[in-house]
Amino acid sequence: MAYKPGSVAVVGAAETTRIGVVPDMSQIMLHADAALNAMADAGLQPKDIDGLACVGQMMPQQIAHYLGITPRWVDGTGVGGCSFMLHVRHAAAAIAAGYAHTILITHGESGKSRVNATPRPPEPESLAGQFEAPFGPAGPATLFPIPVLRYMKATGTTHEHLAMVAVVQREWAAQNPRALFQERVTVEEVLASRMVAYPFRLLQCCPVTDGGGALILTAAERATDFPAPPVYLLGSGESVETTMVSQMEDFTSSRAFRVSGPTAMKMAGIRHEDVNHLMIYDAFAHLPLFGLEDLGFCARGEAKDFIGEGNTRPGGKLPLNTNGGGLSYTHTGMYGMFALQESVRQVRGTAPAQVPDVKISVAHGVGGMFSSSGTIVFGKDRP
């Protein structure tokens, strides 16, 4: 069942008490720490939650039992780091359908410390195991940037343009005491940092951290009964393309982005100029360029100049990745939850680097290596 724009709202939102390096918490406790903080934010207890979404095999069962929740609705959709955008979308539909009233979405990941969180390589019988793994990829840093050289050739984007993405996001991170990296950097410093996987250097790749976050959603009719101002869900979108980056249809554009982004904006009934604040999941420096273009904020090949001319930096007309992004704020492995948290903070007016008068914020996520996408449009006012 479809939900109407503004009929569901976020009434609780929080991250783990600490993020970055948290070796004294296992992965499941990072989920719980974020969930307890979000419940405190909303003035709720586990008995008040009747729906639960989280990503990972068996995770809804584990988290429900650990937190003492008896859900009437669960969602374990796992499409990578944007799964939380899909959880928000599915939760809204579930609330509209009456399957649950108060839904908790959790994320926790011990990406850095790996406490009860062992990474698993693709199985050798899987398609990625047969047709990518034998050629030497070793994690996202070797796979996500595979399309970049083709994108650069097709659009005239330079190494300096791609360095500028990291520079601008560090300007935002410099205003955020919770950001992992807060020191400003220059294009020259980015291009002098250690080569990881050409064309990308260390400062164009996200760190890997520990942390988590949680959201609580309910029907808009109840949303003003909670301590924090409601953040209304105006639109949402989702899509998937492939688990293999080598098989994406177009190396200069993500099909999943082109489905998810416009679906969300159309549902919200907004135009690009209505968006006051934008989050684009940035595990690597090319993602904001793909996001700006695939969501229609820029024409093909123009995102490099849009960022280069300062439109996305503090004081620019479209503030982008204002927590510092995955590149500078934190990246547990599934960053989408943190993009959503920053959108909620910006709409509430509580962000460390607050943009004045945010009425509409878009949070756009990616999963895997351009494998999947989810987009959420949040609004301050109920339409």
């Binding site: 390589p121 398609l127 595979i146 083709r150 050409y198």
Partner: protein, 153 residues
Amino acid sequence: MEALHPFFLPVSKLAEIPFTGSKPEPTPETKHFWDGCKSGKLLLQRCPDTGRAYFPPRPFSPFTGNRAVAVFEASGRATLYSYVIHHREVPGFTPPYAIAVVELEEGPRMMTNIVECPQTPEALKLDMPLEVVFRPVDDSISLPLFRPLKEGA
């Protein structure tokens, strides 16, 4: 130093180095492809409705769902579509080494390594012509790799 890099060696010499990377395990739907590689043939499948070739293998057309697909031998010619050059140690690979995607003459793209070639941005030019070679890694698997196409070939 460049001349000593395994991916700069002739593929016949590369084949003498034990492969310690991740080996593919064929499934019923992909066995013909890997059997083809073992016998020195790059096999693709073609959609009976659109005539378009596709990859990776599956026993139906991803364009129309038609199961009546035909297997055929590709020309083995390709162009370099995109790549990264990885600079860290990975089991079975000597850094720096390129992880590449090539576009086959018949249209599909596939991930591979570029051999008999320096692993540098200067040597690895996008759209350069390539040809398939096969690196035996055990009794049942040969990996399809690509090398620069010689002038006049």
